[in-house]
Structure formats: structure tokens, C-alpha cells
Amino acid sequence: MDLLINPVILYVGLAIGALGVLLALPRERVNPQLIGLILAAGGFGAVIIALALRGLDAAGLPNPHYYIFAPIAILSAIRVVTHQQPVYSALYFILTILASSALYLLMGAEFMAFALIIIYAGAILITYLFVIMLATQAPSETEVGALSPYDALAREPLWATIMGFAIVAVLTGMIAQGLPEIRPAGNETDQQMLLAELPGKVLDDLDAKRVFREMERPETEAIGDLYTIDAASRTMTLAVTPEAAGDLLERAEAEDRQVAKLLIGDGTTLADLRAASGAGGSVRLAVAPEVRVTNLDTVGWSLIAGHPLALEIAGVILLMAMLGAVVLARKQIEIGEDEKLARAAELGIHTGPTDQMDSVSGGGASS
């Protein structure tokens, strides 16, 4: 198989991008930020266009929206790194987050896309903004809008850029070489299989489509014990109790056979259902095409059923981080021994070892 991208284009594009980032990094006096940004955009744009052309051959183009959001993500990431004012850096980082959550969406990970916006853009970045505003010196009155020296100057921009883009070049180059040897690891957990794994998913979906009435829910529980789902052929085998089948039939006839359309596949007719219910046998029903596993089902099932311990540990980590942050950020006030005593006397607390017994009895008497 061909390489995923022409290595010459990849490395030249990355080198141009590196030059652009180097120019855009904050420096003294001459500050060719705009030129740097244009150069970087040109470099990365060339790589992405080359990728698109190669993808066109291999019929592997992503959704067209990719070509909007990927450049936004990269350009705003460059601004995060190069902007001289921390507040703007944080705001551009929010833009990066939004663009990459759009990329998540394009890949079909809706849950993580919105979780990313809520957690990152909504919570973490706001904390950053608070700290930026908290920990920035008030500008002196003589020079309004002046930058702190540590914001206005980059530290070793040349070596940092060379290092960073050496890493990018090695990563992307090596991945382009090695990726064709990685095959997708089967379809074991794809949605067809997952349909069988998710308990009650099909019944719940049918329920949501009001196939079963709410009052009948206890009876559908009884059905739930008696059904099996074959995911590969998307059929559900229902051991029909006469009552449940009677309900289904009643409903199918009352609703102009909507239920029949939804539930009953090619092999099964209403007459079959009626016959089976009479005999107390089982019916094979085709699962309606609307019933499918969503991204939320997949993530939720994998999280709770697959990684319960990790989930618990994540909770503990968050708790400890909260405690740690409180302990670290607490302001320690130095008070002398005399001040402590004076303050205690003010509050009416008896302290010290000498009058401890006294205070216990005295406290008891006074209250």
C-alpha cells in the first residue's frame, strides 16, 4: 500500500509551519506575528491539502467539515502559544477546544464532544481565566497596557520550536509509515453486537415508541424474561405468553397496524402472532431499523460495565485534587502567641494548660 502522504510534502510543510510559529512567538521590538501566522497557515494548509488529495485517491476523505475545523483548531492553537496576553491565550484555547469538539462530532463521538465543551470550555478554562485575573499584577498608572516582561519575551524560541517540530515530524512521519499495517481490530463491539449486550435496550426503545402502553409495563417485564436478541440478523425471539401477545395484537389492530410495521419482519405476519399466542409458543420479530445503539449507549455501557473500578478511582482522584487545592491555596496567617491569647479572650474562649480544668468546670457552670 502507498504511503498515506508524500513524506517530502509532510516534512517541508511542517518546516514552513515551524518557521511560521518561530516568527510568531513573542520577541523583542520586531514582532512579525502576522507574517509568522500566514507562513504557518501555509505550511499546515499544504500538508492538509496533500492529505486530502491522497485521501481522494484512496476514497478516505473525512467529512468536508473537517477542512473547516482542523485549520481553526491548529491556527487557534498557534495563537495560544504565541499571544502575548495570557487572557487572550486562554480565550484562543477555548476556540481550540470548540474546534476539536467539532472534530469529535465528525468522528461520531457525540457524547464526548459535548462533555468536552461542558468540562473544558465551561469549567477548566474558566478556572484558568480566574487565576489569570487573580495572579496578574495591576498595571502601573504610568504605562497602561504594558506587558509583563515574562509575557513579552519567549524563552529560547528557536530551540523550543526545533524540538517541538522534531517531535511532530517524527510522530506524523512514523505514523504515516506504520499505520497501513494496523488493521481495524474486528467488529466485536460494533453496534450490532452491542445491541445484544445492552439489557433491555430493544424493549426500552420499543417502549419509547409507545408500542407498549405504560400501564402494561409490568407485563412487558414478563416479556423481558422471555426474549432473546440475535444481533447479527437483528431479530428478537419473543416467547409469547397468551396475555402479552393478546395485548400486542389488540394494539396492532387498534393502531392501524403501526405496531405490525414496527415489530414484525418479513417472516412473521399478524396471523403467525395470533397462532403462536394461541399455542403459547414463540415468535420471531425483526427489530425495527429505528432501534439502534447510539454513541451514548456505547460509551455508557463500556464505562459502567467495562471500567467500574477506574471510575471509582477517578472519583477519588477528583476528591483528593479538591482537598489538595484547598490546602495549597489556603492563606497562612502568622499570629504571635500573645495575639492568639488576646483573640481567644475576646471570643470568650478559655485556653492554655493552666486553667484547663477550671474552664471545663466553669464552662459547665456558666452554661
Binding site: G60, M107, E110, A123, E156, I167, V168, N187, V326
Partner: protein, 116 residues
């Protein structure tokens, strides 16, 4: 094209190799920019912001491979990455506030000589 149909089409079709590489490239560049920012900027807060950008790149990679392999574990791992990022942000920012109180500056090189 609605969001739902976008997503479901992607799931049903699986992800071709060339498409996977598109996403990996963006992730790689974001990671590299994070490294550059961490090395080149002198503001402590921006340095931590750049580590968050590297987390972000890891997240894109995880989701891309998760979709490529039809394996939801990758997506679930992003949840844990977010958890760690949140914990790290809380602790790091508390540290930054602590350091700022000591020296009234956010310059990382002000702490070049660690003497407690």
C-alpha cells in the same frame, strides 16, 4: 445534514485509513504546539495551558483510534483523561497562586533557584 445523521453515518461506515490519518495529523500538530508553548513561554499559567493542549491532542488520537477499531474503550478513556486534566488544573492553579503570593511574579525563571 443534521448532527445525528453525521454521527450515525460515520459509525455505520467505519473509518478508512486515510481519514484516520487526517485526525492523527491534527492531533500531532496540537501536541507539538503544546510542547513548544511549554518550552518557550515563561508565564506559568500559559505553560500549564499548553499541557492542557497536549491532553487535547491525546484525546483526539484516542477517539480517532476508538472509531477506527470499533472499540468504545478509547472513548471511555477520554473521560478519564478529562478527569485527570481537571484534577491537574485544580492542583496546578493552586500551586501557581501559591507561587505568585511568594514572589509576586508568574515568571517561571524566577524559580530557577529552588531554595524553599
Amino acid at each position: 445534514m443534521t448532527i445525528a445523521s453525521l454521527a450515525q453515518d460515520t459509525i455505520a461506515a467505519g473509518m478508512p485509513l486515510a481519514e484516520l490519518y487526517h485526525y492523527l495529523f491534527v492531533a500531532g500538530v496540537l501536541f507539538g504546539l503544546g510542547v513548544i508553548g511549554f518550552l518557550a513561554r515563561r508565564n506559568l499559567i500559559i505553560m500549564f495551558l499548553c499541557t492542557e493542549m497536549m491532553f487535547q491532542a491525546a484525546g483526539i488520537t484516542l477517539i480517532a483510534f476508538s472509531k477506527y477499531h470499533f472499540n468504545p474503550d478509547g472513548e471511555v478513556f477520554v473521560i478519564f483523561v478529562l478527569t485527570i486534566a481537571a484534577a491537574e488544573a485544580a492542583l496546578a492553579l493552586a500551586l501557581v497562586v501559591l507561587l505568585f503570593r511568594r514572589k509576586e511574579t508568574l515568571d517561571a525563571s524566577a524559580w530557577a533557584m529552588l531554595k524553599g
